[in-house]
Each structure stands twice: as structure tokens, then as C-alpha cells.
């Protein structure tokens, strides 16, 4: 992986993504440009259907833009094939999902170790690193528990440990508190904040909850597929707000 030292975690230029839904083209993102440096704590907020999830999927390399350029750690994703994208996901990004997405029949330890399987790490080393990640989120006593034996808050902490186990530059969290009560939600946000301040990991958070977003140092408001407000610029509208007619390179 051509990981360029010092390159921003994400650099997007005119990012657009449209879907075909039963023959009708829907523009989910209509030209988004942004730059997220390493170590930042960013919240992407917006109403449902605003395109924030699509942006999240693009940043996480789960999806490819229809047009525009995206560089992750300085690597242009357009130059990568599916295998390259999978490797980038594995190395550069850690995911936290609203509905946790843990494997139900597997212990917390094995869930956390899963990303390392795809990195070819040996079993003993996987377990050692997974244990360390679980200890970091305060679940040292839950290693062999299955998701069904844990509370929602604990499950999300397992998911955070899984996002961390591969030492990514960025953690992408998609509504991480959406399925949690406020106490557990606060706890999870606390962990993410610690991760960012103490571990230097960039955290990019997608949410529609104002209180959650307020914990982030920078907020990007998305509406109708465009960036409406980016607090990094403290000005109305992003630098590249507005539709562009450019096609994918």
C-alpha cells in the first residue's frame, strides 16, 4: 500500500455518487470536496436522505464515486481494483456501525480479531492483539462472551475494539449511538473521544443527533447531496458547494 506519510486521511474533490433506482437516476452526492487531516474529530451531520451515509461509504471505500477524486492516506482510490480497495479498508479504516454488526455465534475476542484474519496475522498474534483492543475499551472481562450475552453498550464497545485492532488511521462511525440509550451512548462517545485525543486516531462520525455532533471539534453539515456547512471554514457553504458536470476520470 502506497501509504504516503503525512498525507491527509481523506481528500475529496468534487465527489459525486448517483444510483439507478428502477431506471431512475438518483443523485445521492452532487459534488463534495473536503479534506480531513489525521487526528481530526469530525462529525458529519444531516437529515436522513441528505447523502451523509453515501459520503461515509465512499470515505470507507465500501463504494466508489461516480465522479470526482478521493484520496485515502494519499492513495487515489480510482487506481485500486476491488482487492486493493479491500486491503485499504482493512488497513486504513476501522468501521463502527449503528447496529454493531457483530457475528452472533462468535466470541467477543474472535469478533475483534476478524479484521486481522484478512491481513494474514497468525492466530496467537490475532488473539493477543484482540485482547489488548478489548482491554482498551474496558471489556477485559468479556473476552469469551457472545454478543447475545452482552448489553448494547458492550456490543458497541466490542465493535469499537474491532475497528481499533488493526491500528487504522481513521475510525468511521455510522450513527454509533443510534441503537443505544443515552448513558451507553455517552460512554461510547467517551471512548471515541479518548481514542482521538489519546491515540491520535482520526474519528469521522455520521449522526443526525445534535448533541452527539457537538462533541466533535469539527462539524460538516450535509444536505441534498452537498456540504451545507463545514465548521473548519466557518463560512456558509463548502469551498466547492454546487453541482459540477464533470464525469468520472
Amino acid at each position: 500500500m502506497n501509504d504516503l506519510e503525512g498525507a491527509p486521511a481523506f481528500e475529496a474533490v468534487d465527489l459525486a455518487r448517483s444510483y439507478k433506482l428502477e431506471g431512475v437516476s438518483v443523485d445521492a452526492l452532487r459534488g463534495v470536496s473536503l479534506r480531513i487531516e489525521r487526528g481530526e474529530f469530525v462529525a458529519i451531520i444531516g437529515p436522513s436522505g441528505s447523502g451523509k451515509s453515501t459520503l461515509m461509504h465512499l470515505l470507507g471505500c465500501l463504494d466508489r464515486p461516480t465522479s470526482g477524486t478521493l484520496r485515502v492516506n494519499g492513495v487515489d482510490v480510482a487506481t485500486l481494483d476491488d482487492t486493493g480497495l479491500a486491503e485499504l479498508r482493512n488497513q486504513a479504516v476501522g468501521f463502527v456501525f449503528q447496529s454493531f454488526h457483530l457475528l452472533g455465534r462468535t466470541s467477543a475476542l474472535e469478533n475483534v480479531a476478524l479484521p486481522l484474519v484478512y491481513r494474514g496475522v497468525g492466530k496467537a498474534e490475532r488473539r493477543r492483539r484482540a485482547r489488548r483492543a478489548l482491554e482498551a475499551v474496558g471489556l477485559a472481562h468479556r473476552l469469551d462472551h457472545r454478543p447475545s450475552q452482552m448489553s448494547g453498550g458492550e456490543q458497541q464497545r466490542v465493535a469499537i475494539a474491532r475497528a481499533l485492532v488493526g491500528d487504522p488511521k481513521v475510525v468511521l462511525a455510522d450513527e454509533p449511538t443510534g441503537n443505544l440509550d443515552s448513558r451507553n451512548g455517552q460512554e461510547v462517545m467517551g471512548i471515541l473521544a479518548d481514542l482521538n485525543s489519546a491515540g491520535g486516531v482520526a474519528v469521522v462520525l455520521v449522526t443526525h443527533e445534535r448533541e452527539v455532533a457537538d462533541l466533535a471539534r469539527r462539524r460538516i453539515h450535509v444536505r441534498d447531496g452537498l456540504i451545507e456547512l463545514d465548521t473548519a471554514h466557518e463560512a456558509g457553504g463548502g469551498p466547492h458547494a454546487g453541482r459540477t458536470g464533470r464525469d468520472a476520470p
Binding site: L62, T83, A86, E87, R89, Q91, H101, T106, P115, Y118
Partner: protein, 386 residues
Amino acid sequence: MALEALRVNRLRSALTMFGVVVGVLAVVILVAIGTGAKEAIEKEIAGLGSNIILVVPGQVGLGAAPTQSRLNLADVAFVRRLVGDPAKVTVAVNSGESVRVGRTEVFATITGTDENLPNIFDRPLRRGRYLSGTDVDTRRRVAVLGSEVGAKLFGDIDPIGRQVTISGVRFRVIGLYEPVGATFGVARDQEVHVPVTTAQRLIGLSRINGIAVGASGPDEIEPLRQRVVEGLSGRYPGERFSAVTQTQLLGTIGSVLGMLTGVLAAIAGISLLVGGVGVSNIMLVSVRERTREIGLRKALGARQRDVLGQFLIEAVLLTTIGGVIGILIGVGGSLLIQAVSPVPAAITWWSIALAFGVSVGVGVFFGVAPARRAARLDPVIALRAE
């Protein structure tokens, strides 16, 4: 990981495997029976003796009607001269007659032959002696009993020197054969051998049924066969003579039985195919059910080939476990069939290897489509699946 996935749905995995188990089981058992039958018949033919040429009048073939014989003892003398070694030529004239000792009566095949029979056929004696040249020349009323005839008439008593009555004529028993079993439905243990000259008089015939020639080696069989057939045809212009060798018999029967085994294996193969379709079906269901899991794995960095491998291994594991169970039951079943029924069953390593190979192959073949579907899922869509 794959084993874990199969364990999650025990019943479903078991039912899916069942199709493969039955298919493999059928292949192993049917091939074992086919091979067993072939081996049994080959053993019978080989049990006759080695390098034998049977000369009979007319044409021999499957379905050909037996021809009235014109051969007589003078022709035997002719063949002896032709072959060069008189000791390697013997003769047979057969008739079904009743054989009696006191009140005990059995029906037996009376075969008139001569002193050269043991030079050509494998007929070990248990007691007494074979027919001698003098027995034939002086038309003695002496008999060598097949093991079954001896047992029926005399039980455990030593029959040597005792009298038997063959269709009203008294014979003295001079020998008793070891059991040799049957060849082509001819129960050789139910034969009674008497001098050919005595038999002709008893039956009232001057003909003989056939001549047997023993070749000195496998390479001698074919030239000898041709010489005998040509010689006899020259003696009886316009008539046909056949000389059948064991190699020909083995070849014909072997190919028929080989074909039969092939057909049986093909039928069994169809059930294996059906089992494979079942595996494919279940894997497709499994992929659909685990769409979210697949999405998650891809989000965590699983490449297409990782997901493909995962599902392919699951399918192959399913069919391989099924195959091994099928082989075990099949081998057990074959042994059972052999032990409790007259059907011969021979387990061959190649049928087991084939069954195992095919079950692994079925897993790969029928697992590829579902596994590819899984590997190609769009992670965004897969993660959203219910």
C-alpha cells in the same frame, strides 16, 4: 470457521449431506457388486486350469444353439497327432444319469473322459486315483466321483472300492475329487467321471461332445487353436468347429460385466449429482441468509477471494464429510452383503478414491456459483440487508 457455519444449522447440513451420502454409498456398493461379480466369474474360469482350449463342433457364441456333434474318438486321435503331445489332449462325452447306492439315488452328470484330464484341468483328488489309460483301453467300469456326489451317496464313509449303480450298471469307485465349485452354472462337483469308452457304451453313442487341449504356455494358445480348428475343418469340409480359449471367455465376460459395472456406477452417479444440486441450493440459501455477515466481512477487509474461499470451503466440507460417511457406510454395506448374501461384493480402492474425488468435485462444482454470488455482493447493499 467453515465447520462452525455447518454446525450452526445442524439439521440442514445433515439433510444436505444426506444426498451426497446416498450418492457415494450407491457408487461404492454398486461398483463393489459389479466388481465382485466380475472377479467371481474370472476366478471360476481361471479355476478350470491354465492355457486350456476347448474344441467343440459348430459355432460358439452367446445365444448360439448347440450343434449336433460329429466328432468321435478317431478325431481325438487326429487332434493328438496334430498337437504332438498326446498327454495334452483329453475328451468329454456327457450325459445326465441317475447314480444309486442302495436306496440313495442322486442325479449326476456322467462324463466320459480319459487319463489325460488331470494334465489339462485343475481337478485335485481327495482320495484314490484318476482314471488310467488301461481303464480307458479295457473299458473298465470304474468311476471318480465329484465331491458333492460322493458326499450325497456315502456321507462321511470312504467311497473308494465301493460300488455305485449308474443307470443300472455297476461301477467301482476309484477316486473322489476335491470340491472345485461351479463354472458357468456347470456344477463340477456333481460330475462323475468314467472312462470315455465305458461312457459311450453306457449312453449308446459313438460321438463325443468336445475335445480339450492344453497349451504349454500362453503364447502357444493362439497358434494351437488355429491349427486344431483348421485340421478339423479339413477333415470335415463344410463344417464349422470352434475352439474357445479362456482368454476369449475372460475377454467377453469381462467386457460385459465391465459395462454393467459402468452402468451401475452411472446410475449411482446421477444420485450424486442430485445430491450436488441440493448442496448448491443450500449454499445459495446460506449466502442469502448471511448477506449481512458477508457485507461486514468485506467492510473489514475481506477480498473477493476470501469470501469465495469461505463459501467454497463450506460447500466442499459439506460434500466431503458426506462423501466420507457414504464411503464408510458403503464399505460396511458391501462387507455385509458379502457376508450374508450370495452376491459377491469386492471393494476396490479405485471406487473409493473415485467416490471421494467426485464428492469433493461436486462440492467445488456446485459450490462455485453460490460462493461467487457471495463474493460479488456489494458491501453497502449487503450491510443493509435484513
